[in-house]
């Protein structure tokens, strides 16, 4: 009796969820469809499926890649995301271990400063950050990596030191007794234990750095575009006319790596969201 009722509820729920899932997917499906249509038909009839008259094959993708320097922007975004994430994960896990283990007021104050930086909106430091970064010569594609290290360290140190505190002291004390120096001890003993959390935190960072628009726009400008900057420029349109076909193709190309990334690292992404949450 109750079993049958449960089955009916499940069927009803599934139907409801299917409709909602379709609504969630619709905007993305629409962009994919329109990326194969001639630019003239995109804003005029966005819901029409491509037909023999409007279908242009890969033309938009070729135009999008060629015209706006999108391929270069793509490479730059990959470089910045990967480089920053590596710096963040190595730098911050070392820092987190030190801060979680060292005694005294200074490490404590440092830790609090890192945590404090998480709630400060970017607009608070936007103008002065651009100035300071220019002064010290970090306004290049390579120079932006340490900027991301600094700006992302709040969240990263916060999550990682939370984890370090759950590692028993005995583990590293045993290693030190055996004569391992701090560096050896860290990379041979501590870092392997931290790895799942380190992967999680890397994914969280990769997601926001890949999508970040304002920081690269202000620091690198429009000559050295990243993907979000390229898309914003393409949208504003050169000489007042936007190539919607190329734009649709760029949007699809910007989304593909994220989806691929998600499919590979789904488990870690989900645990990353939860890890970021429970420690909050």
């Amino acid at each position: 009796m109750t079993h049958r009722r449960e089955k009916r509820t499940n069927r009803l729920l599934t139907a409801l969820l299917l409709v909602l899932a379709l609504v969630f997917l619709l905007p993305v499906i629409l962009v994919v469809l329109n990326s194969f249509k001639s630019r003239l038909y995109i804003s005029a009839a966005p819901f029409a499926l491509p037909d023999t008259e409007t279908f242009v094959g890969w033309e938009n993708y070729l135009n999008g890649l060629r015209s706006a320097g999108f391929a270069a922007a793509f490479g730059r975004s990959v470089f910045i995301t990967v480089g920053s994430v590596l710096l963040l994960v190595v730098g911050c896990s070392m820092t987190s271990w030190y801060l979680a283990r060292a005694k005294g007021w200074f490490p404590k104050v440092l830790y609090l400063l890192f945590v404090f930086s998480m709630i400060v909106p970017f607009q608070m430091v936007m103008y002065t950050l651009t100035y300071v970064v220019g002064q010290v010569g970090l306004d290049t594609v390579v120079g932006i990596l340490p900027v991301y290290l600094g700006f992302g360290s709040g969240l990263t140190v916060f999550i990682l030191s939370g984890f370090v505190r759950s590692i028993p002291h005995e583990l590293e004390e045993a290693a030190m007794m055996d004569g391992a120096g701090p560096l050896q001890c860290f990379f041979r003993v501590i870092f392997p234990v931290m790895r799942p959390t380190a992967v999680t935190v890397s994914i969280l960072n990769a997601m926001w750095i890949w999508n970040d628009y304002l920081l690269p726009y202000l620091i690198l400008g429009t000559d050295q575009k990243t993907v979000p900057v390229a898309i914003q420029i393409a949208m504003q349109g050169a000489y007042g006319s936007t190539d919607y076909g190329g734009l649709m193709a760029m949007l699809v190309l910007a989304i593909i790596p994220i989806i691929a990334f998600y499919l590979v690292g789904q488990k870690y992404i989900i645990s990353g969201v939860v890890a970021g949450a429970v420690k909050g």
Partner: protein, 280 residues
């Protein structure tokens, strides 16, 4: 044993701390200092006391942005969390396709930022096109468009946190409630909700701060149109800095006020919902 360890501060902490100082500490301090000055460049400043703050509050645009952000945040709090919790309830049941649904609802959050804004605008402007208008036609369109976009993006993220919370509710408690004759609603309100209160705390916190700080989506979907009526605080501050000559000081004062607002609301909210948490 840890004595040796302290000497390694330069290796473990200094690189991260240096980046953090350049990317956050110095810009933050300078930002506070500059908010009391009139300036066009950072090398040419003139102390004006609280004048920038007075001008910020007498600027209609700022007051309008403040109301816009406040209303947007309150509405988003409800839409995002109600939908996310309902989805989490449905997707913690035993039924087929649960993981697929979770993935689909989480997806918009991965895309994020400016790209998500443009993906969404194709759909919204396509729909509004049937009535011959677009999202910039009226401020109410922009407001609800942004609420829908924000809900689309944040719901999946919060859903993941609620799912983790619900999975921690001991089955013995819900079974005991069922034996005592509790129906769906009373189990929900008297057993499940009190036990997932920590998830509620963190989800309201994240929705609150994210909605207040929204920038990329605002820029992509409406860019403030019509006539700066759909401009949140972050976008208004950005435009004050880079769109109005001689207003940089006011922009920085607005940014400090923005930071204070986020900090105060976030800590008030944490205190308020924390007090409702119970243990299982």
């Amino acid at each position: 044993m840890y004595k040796r360890f302290y000497r390694w501060f330069p290796v473990f902490v200094l690189p991260t701390l240096a980046a953090f100082t350049v990317a956050f500490l110095i810009p933050f301090g300078m930002g506070v200092w500059l908010s009391f000055h009139r300036f066009t460049t950072i090398r040419n400043t003139h102390f004006v006391g609280l004048e920038n703050y007075v001008r910020a509050f007498s600027d209609d645009g700022f007051v309008r942005a403040l109301t816009f952000s406040a209303a947007f945040t309150v509405v988003s709090l409800v839409t995002v969390n109600v939908l996310a919790f309902a989805l989490a309830l449905a997707l913690t049941r035993r039924m087929r396709g649960v993981n697929l649904f979770r993935g689909v609802f989480f997806m918009p959050n991965l895309i994020g930022g400016i790209v998500l804004g443009y993906v969404f605008s194709l759909l919204v402007n396509g729909l509004l096109g049937f009535w011959g208008v677009d999202i910039t036609y009226a401020a109410t369109y922009g407001f609800w468009g942004l609420v829908a976009l924000n809900t689309w993006q944040l719901t999946g993220y919060m859903m993941v946190i609620y799912i983790a919370g619900l999975q921690n509710v001991p089955v013995s408690l819900t079974e005991a409630a069922a034996i005592d004759g509790a129906g769906f609603l009373s189990t929900l309100f008297h057993v499940k909700l009190p036990l997932v209160a920590p998830s509620v705390t963190i989800c309201t916190f994240l929705t609150l701060t994210n909605s207040l700080k929204m920038f990329d989506q605002n820029l992509a979907l409406t860019a403030g149109a019509p006539e700066r009526q759909t401009q949140g605080l972050a976008l208004d501050i950005y435009n004050t800095f880079y769109g109005r000559i001689g207003w940089q000081g006011v922009g920085q004062a607005k940014a400090v006020l923005f930071f204070l607002l986020v900090a105060v609301i976030a800590s008030l909210q944490l205190g308020l919902t924390r007090s409702r948490e119970v243990d299982a």
